[in-house]
């Protein structure tokens, strides 16, 4: 019987360009061998809600690590101030994101007890970044939760510093689980279909679910966008998916 014990703590990891950045690690105790997950926070930042998600993975037997993607923009600042500083700079550069996720994955693989398998999951802007990481790094399973602009160009009046990345699909290194809301506009159901078709054409293993009655950010328990049915089913899909590809 598992003790269900876990430890969660702030640590420092080596990210893109060798930078030392803040990260939140949660890992199970008393388990000899475990898979791992890199958690990519949403655009509002390295916040309490995403730390709770990180601990949830540890409670289910995975080591989970969330890098503070805004650490360089506002070291030591509160998550909301850091998010404001990061957005003023146009968000996280793609190259830096890949370097930070790669650093987090390396850290997890080196943990005593790691089974060597590492997955990634991201929410909101992190959904796109999860896909980007899985197309850029050797990973074992990826989850994209309502990431916009994997396909589809941002509207002209929206000065995004991110562009579509569906052309990277041929490099996808692992199976992809996509969880989306039917009422979301970014990504829209049509854009989800388009990505589905691209991945099928490329012969990439993937599984998409689009929830009726849910929009963007339906996993966010502390926001009005939360949709209990979609979130509960989505979590089950995640446990099934990671159970297949990450568990020992």
């Amino acid at each position: 019987m598992s003790s269900e014990a876990l430890i969660a703590e702030t640590i420092s990891i080596t990210g893109h360009d060798g930078d030392e950045i803040e990260a939140y690690l949660a890992r199970p105790l008393g388990i000899d061998s475990f898979g791992s997950v890199v958690v990519i926070h949403h655009m509002p930042g390295y916040d309490a809600a995403t730390k709770e998600i990180t601990r949830t993975f540890a409670a289910h037997g995975y080591a989970a690590l969330m890098a503070n993607l805004y650490h360089r923009d506002a070291p030591g600042a509160s998550p909301d101030d850091a998010a404001a500083a990061a957005r003023a700079k146009g968000g996280v550069p793609d190259e830096r994101l890949v370097g930070d996720v790669g650093g987090a994955a390396d850290y997890l693989r080196a943990l005593d007890g790691s089974n060597g398998k590492v997955g990634v999951i991201g929410y909101c802007s992190g959904g796109r970044q999860s896909f980007l990481a899985a197309c850029s790094l050797p990973l074992d399973a990826a989850v994209d939760c309502y990431g916009a602009f994997v396909v589809g160009t941002p509207p002209a009046e929206m000065p995004l510093k991110v562009g579509p990345i569906a052309h990277l699909a041929e490099n996808l290194s692992c199976p992809l689980l996509g969880l989306f809301g039917a009422d979301d506009k970014y990504p829209s159901p049509d854009q989800v279909d388009e990505l589905d078709q691209i991945l099928t054409k490329e012969g990439k293993e993937h599984e998409f679910h689009v929830y009726e009655g849910a929009g963007h950010a339906f996993f966010s328990v502390n926001r009005p966008a939360y949709r209990v049915e979609a979130a509960n089913d989505g979590w089950q899909k995640i446990w099934d998916f990671y159970g297949r590809y990450l568990a020992s």
Partner: protein, 86 residues
């Protein structure tokens, strides 16, 4: 969705934050996810002094209706100020 849509302006004045009053040099206005307001998207204003670090920030998150009412109230107030004061 995450819009990143941001208007940036320079401002002159002061604001009171967690550490007391400080000089304001910049403001950003954007319509995106709030940190705290119970809405999916809000009109957010950050009053800033980047030279004093990212924590030199006063943030407000308003519903679109509230933001429009605020903008109208500001214009009305300025328009009604006695001649010669502005």
């Amino acid at each position: 969705m995450c819009t990143y849509l941001t208007e940036k302006i320079e401002v002159a004045g002061s604001g009171k934050g967690a550490a007391g009053w400080f000089t304001l040099t910049d403001a950003t206005v954007y319509f995106d996810h709030p940190q705290h307001a119970p809405a999916e998207h809000t009109l957010n204003i950050d009053f800033l002094n980047p030279g004093s670090g990212p924590s030199a920030r006063i943030a407000v998150e308003l519903t679109a209706e509230s933001a429009r009412a605020l903008a109208k109230a500001i214009e009305t107030t300025l328009a009604s100020a006695p001649p010669g004061m502005i």
